[in-house]
């Protein structure tokens, strides 16, 4: 009954109608407006931890679109100056804890969608090996974030391999916990340890004998810090 009820709101000046209980993120998606997010995946409940999907309400405050429900008469701006600044800030913060070798090249800002294989410059961006499918990098380019604005504050950590199933590179992990969320639906083997700056994901239970090997955790990783075990990687470590 109440689920069928329609409410009207405006996103970036477009008036749209959605059913009660729709999140702003999905409403915007229906209206063809893509809001960037790193921690929101379809099959799991929103957790609002990456803080990238913020939008501005008519009151001028910032709310996370993945978790806020649409309300009658809302007036949302997804690309105001304030929103863009906040997103840029969040991306920069994430980069301070992300081994961003993909930005080591001087020209990383201008390269955009260029076919990198043909790039004539110093190919530092390829030391990462996953720079092509890294959502974080994609958003950084989109929002014109220069990694050199904020220093890198993280210490280098060793890459871990788990029983020929998974490879986990903590240097690139942004702790969005997507992997933990999807794993909870299957296995619940990924754990979270510590708090604050010491918070880390723990994969020690992801041994062959415990892990169902579905590979979902690697699919949802936005920076590909977690990826299927690769022979090539194990040699580097």
């Amino acid at each position: 009954m109440s689920q069928q009820q329609q409410i009207e709101l405006s996103i970036d000046g477009t008036h749209i109608k959605v059913s009660v209980g729709t999140t702003l993120l999905n409403a915007a998606k229906d209206a063809g407006i893509i809001i960037p997010t790193l921690c929101c995946i379809e099959e799991c409940d929103p957790r609002a931890v990456c803080r990238l999907c913020v939008v501005e309400t008519n009151g001028g405050s910032l709310v996370t679109a993945c978790q806020t429900l649409c309300a009658e008469g809302m007036c949302i701006s997804t690309c105001s100056k304030k929103v863009k600044e906040a997103r840029r800030f969040t991306l920069k913060l994430l980069l301070t804890r992300h081994l961003n070798s993909c930005f080591a090249c001087d020209r990383s800002q201008e390269c955009g969608d260029r076919l990198w294989a043909l790039c004539n410059y110093d190919n530092n961006c390829f030391t990462c090996g996953h720079s092509m499918d890294c959502q974080l990098r994609q958003y950084c380019l989109e929002y014109g974030v220069d990694a050199r604005d904020f220093p890198i504050l993280a210490d280098a950590k060793a890459t871990l391999h788990f029983a020929n199933v998974l490879t986990y590179d903590a240097n690139r992990c942004i702790l969005c916990r997507n992997c933990k969320a999807v794993c909870e639906k299957v296995d619940g083997k990924i754990a979270l340890l510590g708090r604050g700056m010491n918070a880390k994901l723990d994969f020690s239970l992801c041994d062959m004998s415990f892990c169902a090997g579905c590979g979902k955790c690697t699919e949802v990783c936005p920076t590909k810090a977690l990826h299927p075990f690769d022979e090539k990687d194990s040699g580097v470590n």
Partner: protein, 413 residues
């Protein structure tokens, strides 16, 4: 000599905190008897009429919270939040040590009014001494037949995480989950502990309830005075009557600052509260007046810093505390605070770059609007008010690289 009202802490030091007879002789449990003959609606109306606000720091009207639970009309839980993790706050410890029966009476009134299923006291991990005592006294009260039928109170000890004072994190911790805040709404009054509506009130809030029921009102507040004052401790004061200046200097309370040095600033409500500077210290200590000046009373902690204290180093200390105590859930708080800590460290070590103060200001501003929960938003309160009122001190550190070498000797922080 002491003209101050004494409601919350009545009997402190005079009566045996563990003796029910002594508490009853001093007028204890009369409010509970009254309530058991009243309708729930009347009790809630009486609390609403008193205008009492949550004493943990969020200042949410207590009557409204109770009414929300009552309106849900479901089985519910009540939780007494005794996770007093704020540095400089120790009023809850005082209440639980000297007048635990008043707190329990408040909880029982809530249990009668809301027909609750079970009560919890979430005790701070460091208060181990109180734990045994509380368990004993709860059993005693229960044996004396004061509990509603089927009701019980369990004492749960936290593991010392600051974030578990936040209500959703506290719920998660009681449920044996990770002590991290969860999304609001749903608020705990709608869906809290084990999915049921949950009333979470501070220790002092529960201690206020018997007084309200006895018609004594709720216009007193406990303050925890500490720092560089001669006389430290927990005092009960009438709201709107004294200013912070009075509290520091009067013979009833603080008896002046240590060595009579000039007060630099005062931290109100623990480290997530705001700073107060000498030019504001004449404002009467009460919710309305302080709100008008843009300062929050918070939990009631008042920490005085006088003499040669550097506000820049103080801010660094506070931010480092929060960097450690952040739960690590949202990226803003986890990384943002450590970035500010890095910048402030650089400033304090004489390695500040040009524009660092601007940078700190911008980052703090972003954190205050982007953080997931109250911890991240509160963490930069101190820094923001310091930058608003004492920006020049930060700029001196930025410009003069040897500032701290020259000034360091004889410093307290």
């Amino acid at each position: 000599m002491n003209t101050n009202k004494n409601i919350l802490l009545r009997g402190r030091g005079d009566i045996d905190p563990l003796s029910i007879q002594a508490y009853v002789a001093a007028g204890g449990f009369t409010a509970l008897r009254k309530v058991s003959e009243m309708k729930a609606q009347e009790v809630i109306e009486k609390i609403m009429a008193s205008g009492v606000k949550g004493r943990g720091g969020a200042e949410y009207p207590v009557g409204k919270k109770w009414l929300l639970i009552k309106q849900e009309n479901k089985e519910n839980y009540i939780v007494c939040n005794a996770d007093e993790g704020e540095a400089g706050a120790f009023k809850d410890r005082e209440l639980l040590t000297y007048v635990p029966l008043r707190v329990i009476e408040g909880m029982l009134i809530a249990a009668y009014t809301l027909t609750s299923k079970k009560g919890y006291i979430y005790l701070r991990g460091e208060y181990l001494k109180i734990y045994e005592m509380l368990k004993n006294i709860i059993a005693k009260v229960k044996n004396n037949g004061y509990f509603p039928k089927g009701f019980e109170i369990e004492v749960i000890v936290g593991a010392g995480a600051y974030i578990c004072g936040e209500e959703t994190a506290l719920i998660s911790s009681i449920e044996n989950g990770i002590g991290e805040p969860s999304l609001k709404p749903p608020y705990p009054t709608q869906r809290g502990l084990y999915g049921l509506p949950t009333l979470i009130n501070n220790v002092e809030t529960f201690a206020c309830i018997p007084g309200i029921m006895n018609g004594e009102g709720a216009d007193t507040k406990l303050i925890a005075l500490s720092g560089m004052v001669r006389n430290r401790g927990v005092f009960e004061i009438s709201l709107d009557r004294y200013s912070v200046d009075d509290m520091i200097n009067s013979n009833q309370f603080g008896k002046g600052s240590v060595n009579g040095e000039a007060v630099q600033f005062v931290q109100l409500g623990g480290q997530s509260g705001s700073l107060m500077f000498p030019e504001q210290m004449h404002i009467p200590y009460g919710y309305k007046w302080m709100r008008m000046a843009g300062i929050g009373i918070g939990s009631g902690a008042i920490t005085v810093y006088s003499g040669r204290v550097s506000i820049v180093e103080y801010c660094r200390n506070v931010i480092e505390f929060f960097t450690m105590e952040s739960c690590g859930k949202c990226s803003t708080c986890r990384i943002g605070l450590s970035y500010i800590a890095y910048l402030l460290n650089r400033l304090c070590c004489g390695n500040g770059n040009e524009g660092d103060v601007e940078r700190i200001d911008a980052v703090a501003g972003q954190i205050s609007q982007l953080a997931f929960c109250g911890l991240g938003k509160g963490a930069v309160n101190v820094l923001c008010s310091a930058l608003r009122h004492r920006r020049e001190q930060f700029l001196i550190c930025e410009k003069d690289r040897s500032y701290f070498d020259k000034e360091l000797s004889g410093r307290y922080i």
